[in-house]
């Protein structure tokens, strides 16, 4: 395998969790709900996936546990913000703080236990194509799922009737309610979809990216995910491109550390965070385009009139 292929492979591994979690959050935000708890849901997914894989001996059971943990954990957020109309920003923060605490507690027995890595699935014929074959068609299940999610989410949002309804709710929950669309029910589902995706992204971290359990191993990726959705102006393909851009920055800084460019490692490690800030500035500085793209009801509570 050439160095180029090796780097490409690591970029994919680093980008996949960002893409998955961001696609989930995109659907949540398109329905008008701002869930800042991605970091918490992701870390819950990571610990549940690791524990599930350890107990059952199968990483696939781990994946299911990760997805379920993310979705169930997001239900807490949905109940508080949708049923009890609590402040979405504060509740999202609470979800992250709680997630970091609970995952640390649950993961205690798994610290420094060797992990079970998810094996790659080789797709016959396609994987024989030179260069891109081994990179794209000799991957683990979660990578394929991320691609399926990309097509699925863009089809759902822009080509299906429920997707149209979901976008309508995100843009004007009052009008959507008047038309007889179930605002709260749809938002519950959207939040849980976002949670399931964040859980899957977490599973990728503890089963593929670094197959082990380390406390706080999400390391701010959930927050970068939130920035990605803004960066992508709520469009799935741009989320995908942005996710890979960030994955590339992360990997290049790691390689730069290995080559020893004379720049201290800590400064290189700052790069993904600094890049997030720079990208946010570029995207947001034009107030008008941001306003046009943002779902109009984003972050606003909905209480049906009776």
């Amino acid at each position: 395998m050439s160095i180029f292929e090796a780097i490409l492979l690591t970029v994919i591994t680093a980008s996949t969790p960002l893409v998955i979690a961001a696609l989930g959050e995109l659907v949540t935000e398109r329905s008008g709900v701002l869930n800042l708890g991605v970091e918490g849901m992701m870390i819950m997914g990571a610990v549940a996936a690791f524990a599930g894989a350890q107990i059952s001996g199968s990483p696939y059971v781990g994946i299911i546990c990760g997805i379920a943990a993310g979705a169930l954990f997001s239900l807490l957020f949905a109940f508080l913000t949708l049923t009890l109309v609590a402040n979405q920003v504060a509740t999202g923060l609470a979800l992250t703080l709680l997630g970091l605490g609970v995952s640390g507690q649950l993961g205690e027995p798994y610290v420094s236990v060797p992990g079970i890595q998810l094996k790659e699935i080789v797709i016959p014929l396609l994987s024989d194509i030179p260069v891109i074959g081994p990179v794209l068609f000799k991957q683990d299940l979660i990578f394929y799922l991320s691609i399926a999610l990309l097509f699925g989410v863009s089809w759902f949002l822009f080509r299906s009737r429920p997707g149209l309804k979901l976008r309508a709710i995100g843009d004007s929950h009052g009008s959507a309610h008047a038309l007889g669309i179930h605002v709260i029910r749809t938002r519950y589902l959207a939040v849980m979809f976002g949670g399931a995706c964040a859980g899957l992204a977490g599973a990728q971290l503890s089963l593929v990216y670094t197959p082990q359990w380390v406390e706080n191993m999400s390391a701010g990726r959930g927050w970068i995910t939130l920035a990605l959705v803004v960066f992508a102006s709520w469009r799935p393909w741009r989320v995908f491109a942005g996710g890979y851009l960030f994955g590339a920055v992360t990997i290049l800084q790691l390689h730069a550390q290995a080559f020893g460019l004379g720049i201290p490692a800590q400064f290189l490690s700052m790069l993904p965070y600094a890049a997030t800030i720079v990208v946010l500035i570029i995207i947001s500085h034009n107030r008008r385009t941001t306003l046009i793209n943002t779902p109009a009801s984003l972050g606003k509570a909905f209480v049906p009139e009776r």
Partner: protein
């Protein structure tokens, strides 16, 4: 079963007072369940966690040590949140304040003067304020989401501290451990009552800050401006208040308090710089601010409660053998219950058992 909300014609004064208490009670109940699930006697565990630390003088001092940074930071955050500016990066401002404040005792360690400590405190506050000015600048001029930028800066601040301590500021006599040289005695925030424990002046600063901010919010035009802009930017603009200036004010103010907390922590409690200087004070302070209902006097009380969760975590680790991660779980639970109980202030909650839908909903 469904839950229906009905908006109260007026904010319920009773529940505004009761809701944080209710949240604490619910947290205790859930905590008991959690301890039971971990195989511990719930009563004994809660006793070790929340009561025993309060029964000895030295541990009351420890309570003040841990409450000081929480109250200092949370008071600043309350000003931010009241004005609808979401500073989530207090942990980073705390770190940078600790670094800038440590400049004098580390670089000019030969300089002995009563001026050292006041200068350190000022530098610490300045550092925190400058670091908080970054998300303020980005929000005010580039319309950038301050939640994300202030949070990203936390990670950069921690990496910067790590670089300093492993590089330029490492103690040459420290056997290669990543610590700075110990601060000289005149660079240490003095203890309040040395004979009985460690509590130092940071706690007094915290109380003063809380009272001053309470006074500002309650009796001054600035306080009114903060509340009006926070509730409605448009209304604020009609009143002639500038939301841009408010972004700067709230961020710089909260950053300065977080920076002050940072330098007080390294000087008063630790005595040197090291890579890990905070058990998440900047994030826990968010909980403190909300539990205190964004009211500075309430924050003094809630700061003590959250400080108790840190102490309790340490105590429970020793006496009943649960991990100190329990602390974080408790902190998260408190915030969750505070937020859910707050619904009672604005809404009447009705539980509808029938499957029949009411009205058009």
């Amino acid at each position: 079963m469904r839950i229906e909300l009905e908006k109260r014609p007026q904010v319920s004064k009773l529940y505004a007072f009761v809701s944080p208490l209710l949240a604490l009670v619910l947290t205790l109940i859930f905590g008991a369940v959690m301890f039971a699930m971990l195989g511990k006697d719930p009563v004994e565990a809660l006793d070790a966690f929340f009561l025993e630390p309060l029964l000895e003088v030295w541990s009351l001092h420890e309570l003040a040590v841990k409450a000081a940074p929480l109250i200092l930071i949370a008071v600043g955050l309350a000003v931010c949140y009241r004005s609808n500016n979401w500073n989530i990066g207090a942990e980073g401002q705390f770190t940078i304040g600790a670094i800038t404040g440590s400049y004098i005792p580390i670089i000019f360690y030969d300089w002995h003067s009563p001026l050292v400590l006041p200068l350190m405190l000022i530098l610490g506050a300045l550092g925190g304020a400058l670091f908080a000015a970054v998300p303020a600048l980005l929000k005010a001029h580039f319309n950038t989401n301050e939640i994300l930028t202030s949070l990203m800066l936390v990670y950069t601040a921690q990496l910067f501290l790590d670089w300093l301590i492993r590089g330029a500021w490492r103690d040459p006599k420290g056997f290669n451990f990543p610590v700075s040289r110990d601060f000289a005695p005149e660079a240490i925030v003095p203890a309040i009552w040395e004979e009985s424990g460690r509590a130092h002046w940071a706690f007094i600063f915290a109380i003063i800050a809380a009272v001053l901010v309470w006074f500002m919010m309650r009796f001054t035009l600035k306080g009114f401006e903060i509340v009006v802009l926070g509730q409605s930017e448009r209304a604020g603009r009609f009143a002639g208040f500038s939301s841009k200036k408010m972004i700067w004010f709230s961020f710089v103010f909260s950053g300065a308090l977080a920076g002050l907390a940072g330098i007080c922590e390294v000087s008063g409690s630790i005595g040197h710089l090291q890579p890990a200087i905070s058990p998440g004070y900047g994030f826990t302070a968010i909980i403190v601010a909300f539990l205190g209902r964004l009211n500075p006097l309430g924050i003094i009380a809630s700061g003590l409660v959250l400080a108790l969760t840190y102490l309790g975590g340490e105590a429970a680790q020793l006496s009943i053998g649960v991990s100190d991660k329990v602390t974080r779980v408790f902190q998260g639970l408190i915030l969750f219950f505070v937020l859910s109980c707050d619904t009672l202030i604005y809404y009447k909650i009705r539980i509808v058992w029938s499957r029949v839908r009411g009205g058009a909903a």
